[in-house]
């Protein structure tokens, strides 16, 4: 049986990612010692956590539910193990199949032989060990997939030739859903060259005290008023071109259409033509919309929101997208009015493309604002959005 009780004895919590080097195989640097002290300090400040083994890759059935991603592969790592006899090996070959890009694999949490581990409502931290077989430092990324396309993603630079523990503290506001379907581990490759990593001992650390849940009371016909801070949290922002530098910032603002509560302010950095050439446009995606009882609304009812675009530094053009069951069902370019609060509205019928209201409308789970090229590299572009709501109309 796996000797992972060693790591269980470590009561680790952290407010960010930390790498814990080595198993004493090497002398720690001052920087590493400082990190350990920081972890110890945090550990002492927070109550005990209960470890739950997610996967130690010791048995064939530990590998049954793993899934390949992109053009990657995972193997049984018999050459190295952090504990026990083996680990998961990520091997990017150089011969016959010169590798390009990174390698990744998916670890579903719901279907493994250890049972359903997808309830992460009590999980405070995730820990795993990585051995980077290369001499140089490489980046390892962990992405926790949440419902409705949301995710938590963190990366860590891992030194070569040493087992490294990566610990990540899951901030509750990052996990609006108590469920995590999959964890995706991704490893940096070196195009044209072989790369090897080993992954071992994936452990959840659960809080014994539970996590305080926040409650948001929605008003009649409210979709998102942004008056509660939680409503501004479950929002994903991506830069389209893959560069984190181009990702828009989303924040709560006291500048509102009604003079009360809060609005959402989107601030996007100016970009270059790089943006327009990307496959996916930059966007802000709103996920806290699946609570709305969409099926109560009829074809003539309207989805509305108020927006304000500053005279200077305001967006010039935006696209408004609606997704049902994860599939885009409506896409509308918005001609923006500047300098005053303006209401944008679209009927249910228009969203449904003139057809009968289908299940996908009843299952709306995402709204999104997208934009294309912002060709002023040194400028930022803003828009305030407020009071996303349904307006009930009588029949025609």
């Amino acid at each position: 049986m796996k000797k992972w009780n060693k790591i269980l004895s470590l009561l680790l919590t952290a407010t960010a990612t930390f790498s814990l080097f080595g198993c004493g195989s090497k002398d720690l640097t001052e920087e590493q010692k400082a990190q350990l002290e920081k972890i110890e300090q945090i550990k002492n400040n927070i109550g005990k956590l209960t470890p739950t083994l997610v996967n130690d890759f010791e048995l064939p059935k530990d590998f049954y539910v793993l899934q390949g991603a992109d053009q990657s592969g995972v193997y049984v790592g018999k050459e190295r193990a952090h504990s026990g006899k083996q680990s998961a090996k990520i091997w990017m070959q150089s011969e016959d199949n010169p590798w390009s890009g990174n390698a990744a694999f998916i670890m579903p949490l719901k279907t493994g032989w250890r049972g359903d581990l997808s309830d992460v409502s009590l999980v405070k931290s995730i820990s795993f060990w990585v051995y980077n077989e290369q001499d140089e430092e490489r980046t390892v990324t962990c992405k926790m997939e949440l419902p409705n396309g949301a995710s938590v993603k963190f990366s860590e630079d891992v030194p070569g030739k040493v087992w490294t523990q990566i610990v990540y503290d899951l901030k509750r506001e990052q996990i609006p859903s108590p469920r995590c379907e999959n964890i995706i581990f991704s490893f940096e490759g070196n195009t044209g060259h072989e790369s090897i990593y080993y992954l071992d001992d994936v452990v959840f650390y659960k809080s014994t005290q539970g996590v305080q849940q926040q409650t948001v009371a929605l008003q009649q016909d409210e979709v998102l008023f942004f008056d509660n801070a939680t409503q501004v949290r479950n929002i994903a922002s991506h830069g389209g071109g893959g560069s984190s530098a181009l990702v828009a910032a989303v924040e709560q603002s006291s500048f509102t259409a009604t003079g009360r509560g809060s609005s959402m302010l989107i601030t996007a950095p100016g970009g270059t033509e790089h943006w327009s050439k990307s496959q996916h446009w930059p966007a802000v995606q709103l996920y806290n919309v699946s609570y709305t009882p969409w099926k109560l609304y009829d074809m003539n009812d309207e989805l509305c929101f108020d927006y304000y675009v500053p005279e200077e530094g305001g967006f010039r053009e935006l696209w408004f997208h609606v997704y049902g069951s994860g599939i885009q069902i409506y896409n509308k370019p918005m001609t923006l009015t500047r300098g005053k609060w303006t209401t944008f509205s679209v009927t249910v019928k228009q969203i449904c493309g003139g057809r009968e209201k289908a299940g996908s409308f009843d299952a709306i789970n995402q709204l999104a604002f997208c934009w294309g090229e912002l060709d002023a590299p040194n400028e930022t572009f803003q828009i305030y959005v407020d009071n996303i709501r349904m307006k009930v109309n009588k029949g025609e």
Binding site: L59, P60, K61, D62, F63, Y64, V65, L66, Q67, G68, A69, D70, Q71, S72, G73, V74, Y75, V76, K78, Q86, Q93, D96, N97, F105, I106, P108, T111, G112, W113
Partner: protein
Amino acid sequence: MKKILTTALAFTFLLSAAACKNPTEDSSAVVEDGNVKICTTNSLEKVLQQETYDSGALQLEIKAFQNEHEAAQIIMTPDYNVRSYMLTLSDLTSGNHTLGKENFDLYHEKYIELERDVEGGEKHFYNGLSPYKDGDMSPDALLPMNAAIEYGENVIAKGNNQGIYVSVKIPKGQPAGVYTGNFTLDVDGKKTTIPVEVTVWGYEISDETHSRSTWAVMFDNNKYGEANLTKFMEKAYVDNLLNFRLNPQNVPVLLGDATNFKESKIEEWLDSVVQYAQDPRCSYINIPTNAQKNVTVDGRVYSRLTNMDLYAKTLTAVAKRSLKEGINLFEKMDMWLNFLDESEQNGDVDNLEMSTYLMKKQQADFATEWKAAVDDNAWFADEGYSYDKDFAYEVIESMRTLKQFVSDASDGVTRDGQRFEAGSADLDVGKPHEDRDAYFNHPVSYMTRAQEFDYSYSRQFFDDYEAWYNEYYQTDDAEQWLYTGCYPHYPYVNVLLDCDLMMQRATGWMMQQYDISGMQMWYSNMYQDMTGYNTGMKPISDPYANASRFPETNGDGFTTYPGMPYGIIGPINTMRIHSLRDSMEDYEVLYLLEQEYKKVITDAGLEYSRNDFEKMVEYINESFFEHGRIKAYEDMNETFLSAREALVVLLDMVTKTGTVITDYEKLAEKAVLTLLSTKNADVTLNSNALSMQQEEGYQVGKAEFSVTELKTSKLQVKTDSATVNVDVSFGYYNENVGVETVKKLLSASVNDSGAAVVDGVYRYTLAVAETEAEKRYVDLDLSVYKINHLYGELWLTMYNYGTEDVKFNLYASHSDNTKFKEFTSRYGIHGDKITSITLKPGKNLVKIPTFILLWNMQKQRVHGRYDTLMALRFETTSCAEAALGFGQITIER
């Protein structure tokens, strides 16, 4: 699985039959924890984990040709929980010769639970035919013993059977002989000696695979189970298939479905093609093609046609690379148009016809253009290509004759406007169909479902169709392929789990008998669940535990398991695919026999006829196989192994005495073999000289054998240098009722309608007439029908041209030991049930409500006819008779 059914052998060669040895005292090894019953058996026996089993033998016996794999099994049954076991190998010897232990591979048999009632629906149509039932734990995956030991799986629960699969590959050049020695089985420290006897036959099979195939191994399906989407893993799967004498659907270039092919992939694909074109294991290379939607040709819109621009560019690229490499890369190439899969069912007939028309036309146009360019020394000359002209012509001819294979699920009804209706004496192969224009009257290369070879009219149609193909395209390489999948099931050849391993093992023999050059399998690494059918693939949590991954099947879609969880790169193979490889190796033995057969015929100054050779194959096959059906006798595995030994005798007869069988007739009273000899052989039958007619360069004679009693006849062929003895026994094959008798019975009762046709012993076709002016009834009286076979089911196909309900009385009498138990009528591929009644002795009213067909079978209705498959289930304890009769068949308005 040991059958409980009993029957007489149709016939068999009785050549040094491998008699089971009595268990020795060692066979029940006593260990400190308890006892372990140990026995041995052949590679074809599927011993369930929890059945009572004892072969009575304790000696591994294997007989194999040089360069061939064969296997045997050890079955252990402990009365306590075994903590570990292992088998230690030793070298075997025969005189001064050694068969090294390194030639053996050991596998721990893993068991998987069979699921019969998937999706909460009806049981299979074939339920009751297969000896397996819901919940049976069937051996399938063969885990290398080292991996079993490493992961602690070499344990046995109390009362369970546990098989060890012992496989050997006889090295090339290994001297013929009987090699003996001992292996040592260690169960929790208690050692048992297992005697081993390997007979090496002195004929060597080829490294080159001559059978063709296309097995879909999808790299993207390795996302599950293997958790691997790399070309590295795809190549491991492809190479594994080739090691089993099967070809992949595509060479490994991360295509997945062939329709993902695109121009930017051509050169990468060709890099791989060059490698596999030179690999003797590879006999088929697929040209990937994809489809374009809504293409207009001559003012008519086709919903999908082959992407002709891509096809033309691909052909050109292959030609250039052939010249560059000096290898005719077209030689092994053809293509499976899988985007037009089962076109009859999917409404793609016109798309298929137009696609194949355009592709053949492109090939013909290129051939004309390229030959002219070669004549003028201008073929790709401006691009710097140089070549030998003869080689260039060879490349071009191979390109011109490329074949487009398509699967044909039309169930013996129609084929691209050609009819081969049941019983039609006037097959209209090659005749233009009046409703079709010029684009739709050309032959296509078909993959046909295995059960279609059950009918003589189908086989005749296939032969005529091939002749038409060769004439039409001015070639001689027409090919007929077969395919299986979820269908057919027992007792036809297939790769399903709830069937005996003979269903796989007979495949190569069937291919040789009917000149079937290839086989197709739609999926071989489906590590997902597709039982939702229309809801797509779903991941499975345990790829070693889900037997049913496609509706109402066990084992369909996967013939391997993922090796990754056990640290193995590439798949873990199954007993099924091992059996299939054995079958493909049998194909190679028969290929060798055919080459020797040709030499004899050529030496005689005669023209070789494939049909004559097929008679010889039929003669060998008939003990275990008929038309694609496996004869499910209790001792069918032993019968089959005897037939393999007969093959050695026939090889001896052909190669050493220059004597072949050129005809084989089955008559009501006797069987007749026609022998042709080129070496003035003395031929005797039961010590009496056989009259041989002398011809210039050879002699011929006929040997007659009784078929009314179980009797072994001694046929001896003797020349100056060799004597070959052949023991022949046809058993009492026709003692009760044969085909001819049943035909007479039927024709007597349906003469007036002229619409009922019989083929084979137990499958009948009824046609209900279409109009008022025609006869509306068929009286079918089988009152003296006798059961002398063991399939437990009598099949009838009713072809109803109308849309009204059909009603008739079914009379059944139950004798003491035979009962007709149940009548069901079903439709469609999966045999969905329409009607089911339990038969009482006497009159039973049966009504087949056609509205169900109308509701469900819009796509199934072909040429205005609804096909209803009817089944009469019976049980029998011995060869006995029962009465069965149909009353007047009427149509209810």
